[in-house]
């Protein structure tokens, strides 16, 4: 994986995914190491983000790397009409690795084709967000002790939610049983379901949340994202479909953990936060270790 861009989770084999998770474990034990102190990492956030950007930058700095970049397109020369290609070619002169988020689908693949330095995709529009996927896998493995043979439940916007698509594809390596809970309008796209079928795995679809909870090892909640809806009326119809409360977890398996890529709106009631089953804040913390593992592996320092 040295010098190889990570654009889509499908770019990595099962072994490569496991290698990153193993490395992330070692960074969790010792997050501050000087292994990237002669490296410059560019952090290009053409679209704003809190968690992803700060966790990348924190990960890089804890490994001793210098970080350059911008946190919105408004403060870059994109505002002057510069193309993505030109920005990437310019920044690649100043850095060893580029982390980028962009609102346009496919922008990261394009950047990886024009860039002489490797690219890590930190989210390209509604398409891919592979580092979120890796940190989700890390969180699942850490809380369950394994990735194999689990019952994983996805809840909310399964149609537009890119994290759900990437994670589903990645979990197809691990003999997962999928439980898909969504409003009828927001079901998992058929292309992703086809992927599950090709892996000879099973999925079930539901519209009600509570009946499925006792069957799950992982309850992966997602926000219904207003910005992905072409039609605001469609959004109004489904925005309050699910609300997980503490009492709904009474019949859950004792090992159940609730994950959420964050930010949440109202799909997880705050009374769940104090439950030992709530894992979404630790999940966000795991992002730092996974991103350290990725950057160190791509820059050939582990």
């Amino acid at each position: 994986m040295k010098n190889k861009s990570l654009v889509s989770i499908n770019d990595y084999t099962k072994d490569e995914i496991i290698r990153i998770l193993d490395l992330a474990e070692s960074f969790e034990r010792q997050p501050r190491q000087d292994i990237l102190k002669d490296k410059v990492i560019a952090s290009l956030f053409f679209e704003p983000s809190t968690r992803t950007r700060l966790s990348f930058e924190s990960a890089a700095q804890q490994l001793g790397a210098s970080v350059i970049g911008f946190s919105s397109a408004a403060t870059s020369s994109v505002q002057k009409g510069e193309t993505l290609k030109d920005t990437i070619l310019t920044v690649s002169n100043y850095s060893d690795l580029i982390v980028m988020r962009h609102s346009v689908d496919g922008s990261a693949r394009w950047a990886s084709e024009v860039s002489p330095v490797p690219i890590i995709n930190a989210g390209d529009g509604a398409n891919q967000h592979p580092t979120q996927c890796l940190l989700d896998l890390y969180s699942i493995r850490k809380t369950q002790g394994t990735l194999d043979n689990l019952d994983i439940m996805f809840v909310g916007d399964l149609k537009y939610g890119r994290t759900v698509h990437s994670l589903t594809m990645a979990l197809c390596h691990f003999n997962t049983r999928f439980h898909l809970v969504s409003p009828v309008e927001l079901k998992l796209p058929s292309a992703v379901k086809q992927h599950i079928k090709s892996a000879k795995l099973q999925y079930e679809q539901y519209t009600e949340l509570s009946e499925v909870i006792p069957k799950a090892d992982i309850l992966y909640m997602t926000r219904i994202q207003r910005e992905r809806f072409p039609d605001p009326i469609e959004y109004e119809k489904v925005k309050n479909s699910y609300n997980l409360t503490l009492s709904m977890l009474e019949n859950a398996r004792p090992n159940l953990k609730v994950l959420h890529p964050l930010p949440r709106v109202n799909e997880i009631n705050t009374d769940v936060d104090s439950s030992p089953m709530a894992y979404y804040f630790q999940q966000a913390q795991n992002g730092v270790y996974v991103r350290q593992a990725l950057m160190a592996a791509i820059l050939g320092r582990v």
Partner: protein, 155 residues
């Protein structure tokens, strides 16, 4: 009308390629995809011709032009029924069907308006995939969205 006379409706060629059994409404697309409108070779075409198999068909004849397999397979997206006939000295020397290629580059626009190929000057690349009902789709290398057959729009 004999087969011979039917062939002659669109002028016979001594050397070159005949593309037969094109859906009649796709003839102009085929000309464009193959760039035949950019050539200086003599070019003949016919539309709304009688066909036993299809009811109505189109045909193209281009003089002194022969195609590589890859080149001709580009038209499979719009004219999967087409037959290619190579003519040398008025004789048919080769006859073959077009084959749907594994990749489609440059000629098709991605259906996703938010795809980078529709935002900046980026050449399109698609993998040809088949869904569970064996229906062909084009999967964009960049945005990973699928363009279905009815949404195929040529650049």
């Amino acid at each position: 009308m004999s087969d011979k006379r039917k062939e002659l409706i669109v002028s016979a060629i001594s050397n070159g390629t005949v593309i037969d059994h094109i859906p009649t409404d796709r003839v102009f697309q085929v000309i464009k995809i193959l760039g035949l409108d950019q050539l200086s070779n003599p070019l003949y075409f016919g539309v709304n011709l009688e066909s036993k198999k299809f009811g109505s068909k189109g045909i193209i004849k281009v003089s002194n032009k022969f195609f590589e397999h890859e080149e001709i397979n580009k038209i499979a997206l719009v004219a999967p029924s087409a037959t290619l006939i190579e003519i040398r000295d008025y004789e048919v020397v080769d006859k073959r069907d077009v084959i749907i290629p594994e990749t489609v580059d440059k000629i098709v626009k991605c259906v996703n308006p938010n795809c980078i190929t529709n935002k900046e000057e980026v050449t399109t690349h698609f993998n040809v995939i088949y869904d569970e009902n064996n229906v062909m789709k084009l999967s964009c290398r960049y945005c990973e969205k699928n363009t279905s057959k009815e949404n195929i729009f040529f650049i």
